[in-house]
């Protein structure tokens, strides 16, 4: 490391150097005597600007700045999963061991444990031609996940040395590759990759497989694909974080990258505690075995908050390259946008809307574009799905972050303040949410769940929309004056809202529901609807139908039918028919 400059000025996390310096754009640097980590963000003849990822208090002009010659990078290798990092991939547990409970300045720690030996199974042979992305070794990283170390994407050549299977650290070379230009590179288990550069892939595929989350309102009404993007906007207290937690817990992705970006410290503690205890529905192991947490809480330095999103997505891409389906929870992208705004303000850039920088939209776009179902360099297929929470100012969806996010995501799960106030959770509004993946997924649903699934889904939505327009009338004149068929719509909509859309995250049976059960529940509700509609068309009054307990029984299906006893649902269809026959016999 050599000194390439001296500090001229300091303004919070922004440090200036005077004159023409030899730094490169986006280079990672060490700033000051304390060697705080920073990144070059602008260069010109008069001034070099550095964004520092730690608190700068106590720093003085005249202190040295050291260059590294590398872009801001993360280390990729075994040891990432079942771990918690800060925004620039420093392991928080190691920091705690070194400096105690508070994160002090200038902690020097390695991203991955360089002492730990991993049992390695080598998968390449001497003399083999290798190209970027090819898998060279496998390591059982956690109980759930096999880690596959790869040739870095920019390397091409012939294996001239390879180690035996055995125990190695992440820095010991596994293979030596002679490249076409005769240079020789040693490749260990871990590699570095710059966080702002997407990892290369062979090609992008269109995805037609859903990311199943176990949440009815998502899976049935507004589904997302593996490799898809979704935004969860909602004011405070509407349940964004809760929803992210639910998806992280129960979605059928192989790997979860959970980015706590500028959010509460206690929430990260909760994720850590909960996920360690909870069982992964797929493998039966602890959920943390497939999870990595990036925690840059709101009181941690703002520049690292900006970086945390990129760190998270780079880790996700790395596991995608191994052929896994990865889901990213980014909570919350608004904090990231605000970090951009704060830094932009300190740089005295010209603001666009509400003080946000003009490049907000393009930054959001590059982030969400890193999602997708990809054919990797090693021909395996993997996906990165991004689910980003948005915290609109004042709960108003017309603000710039929500609006710009909407342009780049294809799923929009808008959370509604009114529903949250009624404690209807998940408070996803069925009126202004949407998913543009429904058409892509219809074939999959038809073949794998039920031929009626898409049709039933449409009907459910129709009933809900009808109810919403009827409610405008009810609010004015009361429900008594409505004709019976409209009363039925309102009653069935109530059954759908309480019995289907509302889902209790704390109820053992209800917290995670299979698609099969979702489809059957929908069928039962619609069967009830059709039978009632027929009776009403024959002149039966709604008040008569409501005397039967069947409506409330259908509402409580979610609690009463355990997830492993779906056969019980058929009984409901029979009971509805009996209810129909009974009414028809006694009143016809």
């Amino acid at each position: 490391m050599k000194q390439l400059g001296t500090i001229y000025g300091i303004n919070g996390p922004i440090v200036y150097l005077k004159g023409k310096t030899q730094f490169q754009m986006s280079e990672m640097v060490y700033v000051g005597k304390m060697r705080l980590i920073g990144e070059i963000i602008s260069l010109n003849n008069e001034m070099t600007t550095i964004q520092v990822y730690e608190e700068t208090s106590g720093m003085k002009p005249g202190e040295p700045v050291y260059g590294t010659g590398q872009q801001m990078s993360v280390t990729l290798g075994p040891g990432i999963l079942n771990n918690i990092f800060d925004g620039i991939e420093r392991p928080l547990k190691t920091i705690e061991d070194q400096v105690g409970q508070y994160i002090t300045k200038s902690v020097q720690v390695e991203s991955l444990d360089t002492e730990r030996k991993w049992p390695v199974r080598v998968t390449v042979e001497l003399g083999q031609e290798v190209t970027g992305g090819m898998i060279i070794a496998e390591v059982q990283e956690t109980k759930t996940i096999v880690h596959k170390s790869m040739i870095p994407p920019n390397i091409d050549g012939k294996v001239i040395e390879v180690v035996e299977d055995g125990d190695y650290t992440v820095v010991e070379p596994i293979v030596k590759v002679k490249q076409l230009d005769d240079t020789i590179v040693e490749i260990p288990l871990a590699q570095k990759w710059p966080i702002r550069v997407p990892r290369p892939v062979r090609r992008r595929h269109e995805s037609s497989v859903p990311l199943i989350t176990g949440q009815r309102v998502v899976d049935t009404l507004f589904p997302i694909t593996k490799g898809g993007t979704a935004a969860i906007p909602g004011g405070f207290g509407t349940g964004k974080t809760m929803m992210q937690h639910q998806v992280a817990k129960y979605s059928d992705a192989d790997i979860i990258v959970y980015i706590g970006c500028g959010e509460r410290g206690n929430e990260m503690t909760e994720v850590l505690e909960d996920f360690s205890e909870l069982e992964d529905p797929k493998s039966g192991n602890s959920l943390m075995e497939r999870t990595v947490l990036i925690a840059n809480t709101s009181n941690m330095p703002v520049a690292a908050r900006e970086a945390s999103i990129y760190t998270g997505v780079t880790l996700a891409e790395y596991y995608r390259d191994m052929g896994y389906d990865v889901a990213i929870m980014a909570d919350s992208t608004s904090r990231w946008a605000e970090a951009l705004r704060e830094l932009s303000g300190r740089l005295e850039e010209m603001p666009a809307e509400e003080g946000f920088p003009a490049y907000l939209a393009s930054r959001l776009a590059t982030f969400y574009e890193r999602a997708g179902l990809m054919q990797n360099l090693n021909e395996s297929e993997g996906s990165v799905s991004i689910i980003g929470a948005v915290s609109p100012q004042g709960g108003d969806f017309s603000e710039p972050v929500t609006q710009n996010t909407k342009r780049f995501v294809r799923c929009f799960w808008g959370l509604d303040r009114q529903l949250a106030n009624e404690r209807h959770y998940p408070a996803v509004s069925w009126l202004n949410s949407y998913s543009l993946y429904v058409d892509d997924l219809s074939v999959w649903f038809r073949d794998n769940v039920s031929p009626d699934f898409i049709n039933n889904r449409r009907q459910i939505l129709e009933i809900l929309h009808q109810e919403s327009s009827l409610m405008d009338i009810v609010k004015l004149i009361g429900s008594d004056v409505l004709p019976d068929d409209q009363k039925l719509t309102i009653e069935i909509a109530r059954v759908i809202r309480l019995g289907f859309l509302q889902q209790d995250a704390f109820h053992q049976e209800d917290t995670n529901v299979s698609l099969e059960k979702q489809a059957k529940m929908m069928e039962v509700i619609l069967h009830l609807y059709r039978q009632c509609r027929e009776m009403i068309s024959m002149g039966m009054p709604m008040s008569l139908l409501l005397e039967n307990q069947i409506f409330n029984r259908v509402v409580t299906i979610k609690y009463d039918v355990p997830n492993d006893r779906l056969d019980l649902l058929d009984q409901y269809l029979v009971d509805i028919d009996q209810f129909y026959n009974h009414i028809m016999e006694t009143n016809a």
Partner: protein, 461 residues
């Protein structure tokens, strides 16, 4: 370190510029002496080579470019700490104002505080009984939580905070050590006096540390007041093992002070002129609540803020709500109906409630009852708006029941006397008494088993 610089190069509001300085560090504290007599403190907020921009605590009114001597201290802002700070009163930047002399200190600590490592936190789960039904039953306060009051001018937020201090087991009868840190920012003298009287009456005054920056005190000091107070709170909690309740009032005045400085620094404003870093800045304060794993104490925060024009979407309550673990919202309509405490439960929320209630802490039915009360109350509001259009007489029978239920809920469940202390069991039993006013089919948030257990019961008196 002891070089003194004579004179300043410019003065602009609370900011002064000093050129030709050597070895000045970002964020360090400087001492000014004006006319060789008056001492003031300031903080370096920007440095460029040999030029420092310094923010002066207190007013710059008597400073001139010539009469001021400046000395660099080489350290960030620190306050002296020792068990002696209990029972004492300080000004907004930690200087004693109770004529009892300086505190002899065990240590000095940087008021900015470092961020707590998320892996070192313990998830808060201990229920604090405040004796107030609306809070205990519906927005439960948990030890280590930050639960702000979103209030408005003229609403009884101070009374409620005082009642919590009196009732929240802060007094006698427990082996654990409790304490209160009170930080006043820009409030009137009588508010400060009111709290002092409350502490005195409830016999906790010797366990209270007060930091007062009243309305007439320098605005800029307000920036430091919560930091100083929280540093004291952390010392009491984590070094001395006490359970500390921090009351900070009024956060709106704090944010306005922040805006004032931002404006004089000519920063680019975001919403309503507040600086873009308001969120980060507030987070640095609120996130200092919590429990550190392996340490006996805790810091619980009740920040009080007055929403300008009762607007909950104003940046101050909005950003606060995104950081804190819930909020208790005061409502002017309920105040108009003489209901105390006038808490609007629908927008109120306690995020940590789910982990701190239930069988282990309060009672098994607590969560379900709370959910049902919220849901039913929102039906009450619907019924009321319908009644206001078509008249109460025209309502369906169920809606009429909701109206009756709503009235009793507001008058007797929400409403209670300023010295009434209800146990959580009383609160829950009373909730069932109310729910029995509604037909059983309407109670759709409570599962069948709990309904069987509680709905049928008549209240045993």
């Amino acid at each position: 370190m002891s070089i003194e610089y004579l004179g300043l190069d410019s003065i602009n509001g609370p900011l002064v510029v000093l050129e030709g300085v050597q070895d000045v560090a970002f964020d360090e504290i400087v001492e000014f002496s004006v006319q060789r007599t008056k001492k003031k403190l300031g903080r370096v907020i920007e440095v460029y080579e040999d030029k420092a921009i310094i923010q002066v605590f207190e007013s710059t009114a008597d400073m001139s470019l010539k009469n001021t001597h400046t000395r660099l201290t080489g350290r960030p802002m620190e306050i002296p700490l020792s068990p002696e700070i209990l029972g004492r009163t300080f000004d907004g930047i930690g200087r004693p104002i109770d004529q009892l002399g300086d505190v002899s200190y065990v240590m000095k600590r940087d008021v900015n505080g470092d961020p707590l490592n998320p892996v070192s936190r313990e998830y808060p789960r201990n229920f604090i009984q405040t004796g107030i039904s609306a809070i205990d039953g519906l927005t439960t306060l948990i030890r280590g939580q930050k639960l702000p009051f979103f209030s408005g001018d003229g609403l009884p937020h101070n009374e409620l905070a005082a009642q919590i201090v009196r009732q929240a087991n802060l007094g006698e009868g427990s082996s654990e050590k409790f304490g209160v840190v009170f930080a006043a920012m820009g409030v009137q003298h009588d508010v400060a006096d009111f709290f002092r009287r409350t502490f005195e009456e409830s016999g906790v005054l010797d366990r209270v540390t007060m930091f007062l920056n009243v309305a007439s005190d320098p605005v800029i000091e307000r920036i430091m007041t919560p930091r100083v107070a929280l540093t004291a709170a952390e010392y009491l909690a984590y070094d001395l093992g006490m359970h500390i309740l921090v009351i900070m009032t009024d956060m709106t005045a704090y944010c306005e002070a922040l805006r004032e400085i931002s404006a004089s620094k000519q920063e680019i404003p975001s919403r309503k002129g507040y600086p873009g870093y308001l969120y980060s800045d507030l987070a640095m304060l609120y996130e200092r609540a919590g429990i550190v794993a392996g340490k006996p104490g805790s810091v619980t925060q009740i920040p009080i803020l007055t929403m300008p024009n009762d607007d909950i979407t104003h940046p101050i309550p909005d950003l606060t709500g995104y950081i804190t673990e819930g909020q208790v919202v005061f409502d002017r309509d309920l105040q108009g109906k003489s209901i105390y405490p006038p808490i609007d439960i629908l927008p109120s929320l306690s995020r940590l409630m789910k982990g701190g209630i239930g069988e282990k802490y309060t009672r098994a039915d607590h969560q379900a009852v709370a959910n049902q009360l919220f849901a039913s109350y929102s039906r009450v509001k619907e019924a009321r708006s319908l009644a206001s259009v078509i008249g109460e007489d025209e309502l369906a029978p169920t809606d009429k029941k909701y109206l009756a239920y709503g009235r009793k809920f507001e008058d007797q469940f929400l409403g209670q006397a300023k010295d009434e202390n209800r146990s959580i069991i009383e609160t829950l039993d009373f909730a069932w008494e109310l729910l029995r006013m509604l037909p059983r089919e309407e109670l759709d948030r409570i599962d069948t088993q709990l309904l069987d257990q509680y709905y049928g019961l008549e209240k045993v008196l």
